[in-house]
Amino acid sequence: MSRLSARDVTVRRSGRAILNDVSVSLPAGAFVAVIGANGAGKSTLLSVLAGLLKPDQGEALLDGQSLATMDRKALARRRAYLPQTPRCEWPIAVERLVALGLTPSLPAFGGLPADLRDRVDQALTALDLNDRRAQAATTLSGGELARAMLARAVVGDPQVLILDEPIAGLDPRHALDAMGRLQGFAQAGQLVVAAVHDLVLAARFTTHILALKKGAVIAFGPTAQTLSAHLLREAFQVEARVAGEGRNSVIDVFAPTQP
């Protein structure tokens, strides 16, 4: 069981603190929604937790080991990361795109070993992409590309899955599907950390809420107890009604908070 944590993480860019002394510990099996206003530091925190950005102070740790001291490939086998609106730059086939997720497990030269080819098949099946496997990835619709990228991320069976706004730009049906799949990965024991702007879907699918404001953590805890009207007022300066629980949660954001 993996635990991903940040310890006293500070990131500065041209003198300004993007993240300020952030400490948080995320357990395996959790589906954590990172919420916060634009510019609150969500993407930066995800980059630090993924080991892609070295903080100016503090460190990110996977099972107690600092990411900075871990071998790049060893880390890449244990955690997957998807940036905001991931793109494929060449018209390669969907199955090739998914196979790229196995890059850290491949030998330096040669093709894809047979056991890894099975993994690609499984990932394609799991994400309903079998009829798209030979299609050029650049011709996929937004929803299909999001699924293909998710398949790319999970094909190596990572312990930690970090996604920056995985449902941005998806229609309601595809967004529901995507959140359901991510919830499934968490229930299977993986740690899923995602920046999410859709508060209703966050309330319905995630186990934990991590709220950021101006680079600092203002709340972290189980979704049902944490996602409140009070928190939304503090994090986004909006008035909201929060009702229901779990799958029945409803959040209605109705007005900006008057200063």
Partner: protein
Amino acid sequence: MRSGSAIALAAGLALAVLFIASLAAGSVWLTPAQLLHAVGADQNDLAQLILLQLRLPRAVLAVLIGGALGLCGAVLQGLLRNPLAEPGLLGVSSGAALGAVIALYFGLAARFAYAAPLMGLTGALLAMSLTYAFGRGGTLTLILAGAAVSALAGAGVSLALDLAPNASGAYEIMTWLMGSLTDRSWDHVWLAAPFILGGAVLLATTARSLDALSLGEAQAESLGLDLDRLRVAVLIGVALCVGAATAVAGAIGFIGLIAPHLVRPFVAHQPSRTLLPSTLLGAALLLGADLAGRLLRYHGAEIKLGVFTALAGAPFFFWLVLRLRATAP
């Protein structure tokens, strides 16, 4: 898998045919029988002299340089994920040109035959260092630094042309800049080969990383790719290959731009699999261009190689643009 090997095989076959043709063709035509005889015989007859001292080094050099340009183009287009990337992009070929032009300008080349290629190599390595010093840490900064180095070296070449003491000096520089394989000897081959082969080995190791870069830099890094190391490997590899190529043969355009384009549809657009076919095709294209330039004489003079590749390459590139326009969404 099969179509990828097929294009490599086709390019390899074309290369072999053109290689033999370029040994046989010229102002003195050699029949296959004469070629075989010249290889086997021990006497110093004319056929053997033409074959071993003129045509063989020239053909070998064309293969080395064309292959280097094709490989560099494929690697750079993969690294930058931009189909317009070409070997001259990082300022290395301009640096090599400036080095060689300095040797010509100060008359060093007249006193010592290998001054131009040696100064060209020095220029390429200096240009590489400058590009790296300013451009390290980012792909975009690397391109911008390369553009600045290119502009600087280009200005130096223009200055040399402008200040050339006499018309024949300026003519000598112009001729060299156009790129040519005329009168190149085994010494040029031995001078360029170690750099080109060393650079090619370094570039071949980047294949897997170029595939990962199909997903963009952030995802590639998350897959364990060390981008800084990759950029340095590509810069050094391209500097060795293109620097040595430009140093011995002058500036030869279009090969590095076109070869990767031609092979890409046959390897399902997978960046790593363009490297080998693009290398073979680049070599075949340059051999073909050299052969054609040698046969299509204009008032008795050979058409310069760099001019011919540009003349033949540009219409082809127009066709490519039209096709792209037709298939683009």
